[in-house]
């Protein structure tokens, strides 16, 4: 069996297309990692800016002063400091270089400033300057305002008919359940990691779809099916070896990509803040999932894995049925791009939230208000996505085995 699996993997990787795919995956990891690292920028006190590892180091140092629980006092202090900076000639100046100098003074508490701005803005909006005229008294209302903003939005024309009362209550309960004051630490590494994870996962999936599309259909395409199926293990272990080789290749490449990407980004930008709730950033302030950055990233990469397994297994199933790699390979593309075309149709927005592409972008999905009702119970989209597609994947494997082993060679 091991020998068969080894040869099946060799079949996939020995082709020129396979080698190109491997090089492309490596290049994608490198390029996206560089983008992620360079996404962090730091403005020096003279107004000039730097990006990347040095920027992250400077920011980490400045933000470390604010590590701890975001209490009323902390919010008040940020409002006061921000007001002080706003009074400086640099902040008052119309010259962008001078404004940069003012911005440089705020960088240490920028994340907390974002939270305050979000709390002071209507639910679906964000105003960067809200804090500038804020009364320090609002510091005591930041967490209450988060819930109040949600309630206001749920009662608005935009959302009132979109969710049932049970769902609305579920969202409010989720918001209320989060333990406050929130613990804060600089998590720029995790934020960059999450921001670019969708790109890494989707591109990896598309390239993997090219790599594995021929596992089954290749036998027909190369006219090697007659010898394969007339052999002792051709309709038994031979089929299992194909499945195992496909899953092994997908798993090894996917987890290697994730490992390299995570190591590069976290070692460059820092891994601190892993235990902070995602709500301590502009990224996760509105999320109803009460999870930490580490949990969010774990869900993101696990979701990516489940999603890729399901999508590529379906691709294999299509290739077994149609005997065509070309037809099967269109499936992952359609799945990724279809939601963009039909996303504007309101009546199917609920279904779109459960499409498998959501698993490839958990870092985005945690910020969406997709929840589903089962009787009196409301569940967020994430647990459903994980459960449904894990099950479908497990169902597809024996189906592929049965269909392929019964194939006839006409």
């Amino acid at each position: 069996m091991i020998q068969m699996v080894r040869f099946e993997i060799k079949k996939m990787l020995s082709k020129t297309g396979g080698k190109i795919a491997l090089v492309m995956i490596f290049m994608i990891v490198v390029i996206v990692s560089v983008f992620a690292v360079r996404s962090v920028d730091f403005v020096k006190s003279d107004g000039s800016s730097i990006t990347g590892i040095r920027a992250a180091k400077e920011l980490r140092y400045m933000k470390s002063a604010w590590t701890g629980y975001l209490t009323e006092d902390v919010f008040a202090e940020v409002i006061r400091l921000n007001a002080e900076v706003e009074e400086t000639p640099e902040a008052q100046s119309k010259d962008w270089h001078e404004s940069n100098k003012a911005y440089a003074m705020k960088q240490g508490y920028l994340d907390i400033r974002d939270i305050i701005n979000s709390a002071l803005s209507p639910f679906r909006e964000y105003n960067y300057y809200n804090i500038d005229g804020a009364d320090p008294g609002v510091a005591s209302e930041i967490y209450e305002r988060r819930i109040a903003n949600l309630e206001k939005w749920l009662a608005s024309d935009e959302a009132k008919d979109r969710y049932s009362e049970t769902k609305k209550q579920f969202f409010v309960d989720q918001y209320s359940e989060i333990e406050t004051p929130l613990y804060y630490e600089d998590a720029d590494g995790w934020k960059a990691l999450l921001e670019y994870s969708k790109t890494v996962i989707m591109l990896t999936m598309l390239i993997l779809s090219f790599l594995v599309c021929n596992i089954f259909s290749g036998e027909y395409h190369l006219k090697a099916d007659s010898v394969f199926f007339s052999s002792l293990e051709g309709r038994r272990k031979g089929v299992k070896a194909k499945l195992l080789a496909g899953l092994l290749l997908i798993s090894i490449i996917y987890w290697s990509v994730i490992l390299i990407y995570s190591l590069v980004v976290l070692s460059a930008l820092g891994s601190g803040g892993w235990n902070c709730p995602i709500q301590v950033s502009l990224y996760g302030w509105k999320s109803f999932y009460n999870i930490t950055f580490l949990e969010n990233y774990t869900l993101t990469v696990l979701g990516g894995y489940v999603g890729i397994l399901f999508i590529l297994t379906t691709e294999l199933f299509i290739s077994v049925i149609t005997r065509s790699a070309v037809v099967s390979i269109t499936f992952p593309f359609v799945l990724l791009f279809l939601p963009s075309f039909v996303g504007s149709i309101n009546s199917i927005s609920g279904i779109l939230g459960l499409m498998p592409d959501q698993l490839l972008q958990i870092s985005v999905a945690v910020r969406l208000f997709n929840a589903y009702e089962f009787g009196n119970t409301v569940v967020g989209a994430l647990p459903i996505l994980f459960m449904v597609y894990s099950m479908l994947f497990m169902i597809l494997i024996p189906v592929i085995y049965r269909v392929f082993r019964r194939a006839e060679v006409c």
Binding site: K15, A224, F229, L232, E233
Partner: protein, 296 residues
């Protein structure tokens, strides 16, 4: 016992590719299957290789249905298909080791067996060459090698010598003859001489049916046709050729020598000769025999 085919029929959308075929392979040896393209030979062979299910009828091995025997039957089966597909990026040795693995050979046994079959087909020096770089003849040799990797009791060879040069064909013929000493070899070919010299029994297949079968000398005696050598002018030869089956036309000192297959003497001065399998093929299949590109 052995391999037995009973009333075997295969229909594709109402078209009977194989129609109520029955015969048995009782002893080891070469069984030749002759027929023009589209006669149903490949469909019949694919059913014997469990690649397609028959519409009706049965194929049994030692009294048991081969489809029910499943792996137990495929374990004793070797098959070289007409269109022999392979994995182009594999080297010869990798290809054979892979096939050995799906034939259920252990890694150690596979290494030994691959070396042995490579020697048998004369490919030991080319074992590190990629399959895509092999010549047509070399590919056929690898095809034979993979078919015998598991020492099959039943060896099915569909057009194994197609596209080979005369030297390679002779080499193959000898190899097939050698292999048939301890196994059943079913050999389908257009090249009559390949079968004539090695087959212990021959089947003529036409329009999905076995029209003639038996030992070569037996079936040659069952048909009323005779072979006539006639010498005549080119104009006369053209007329005769339109009237009768002609297996050979040769220019000879301004006149033409025809080899005519017919039951009655075609012209006065015709000289009777012994019927060969090649003549019989033309007699049975008529003008359709021409689509073999002159190989018969």
């Amino acid at each position: 016992m052995g391999l037995e085919i009973m009333d075997l029929t295969k229909e594709f959308h109402g078209f009977k590719a194989v129609n109520r075929v029955s015969f048995s392979f009782d002893n080891n040896g070469v069984y030749g299957l002759l027929g023009v393209n589209g006669a149903g030979k490949t469909t019949l062979m694919r059913m014997i290789c469990t690649l397609i299910h028959p519409t009706s009828g049965s194929i049994t091995y030692d009294g048991k249905d081969i489809f029910e025997l499943d792996g137990e039957y495929r374990k004793i089966l070797g098959y070289l298909p007409q269109e022999f597909g392979f994995y182009p990026e594999f080297t010869v040795v990798d290809y054979l080791r892979y096939i050995a693995s799906i034939k259920g050979l252990s890694q150690v046994a596979a290494r030994k067996k691959v070396d042995l079959v490579l020697r048998q087909v004369g490919m030991e020096k080319s074992k590190r060459i990629k399959m895509k770089k092999l010549s047509g003849g070399m590919k056929r040799r690898v095809g034979i090698a993979q078919a015998i990797l598991n020492d099959p009791q039943i060896l099915i060879l569909d057009e194994p010598t197609a596209g080979l040069d005369p030297n390679e064909r002779i080499r193959f013929r000898n190899l097939i003859s050698e292999l048939s000493q301890n196994r059943i070899v079913l050999l389908s070919t257009h090249i009559i001489s390949d079968i004539e010299s090695v087959a212990s029994r021959v089947f003529f297949m036409k329009d999905g049916e076995i029209t003639l079968s038996g030992r070569v000398e037996e079936i040659l005696g069952t048909v009323p046709a005779k072979v006539w050598i006639c010498e005549m002018t080119p104009e006369e030869a053209d007329r005769i050729q339109k009237q009768y089956s002609v297996s050979n036309r040769r220019l000879h000192q301004g006149s033409v020598e025809l080899r005519v297959i017919t039951e009655e003497r075609p012209v006065e001065n015709a000289r009777e000769e012994n019927l060969t399998l090649e003549d019989l093929f033309l007699y049975v299949f008529g003008e359709k025999g021409d689509d073999t590109n002159g190989e018969i």
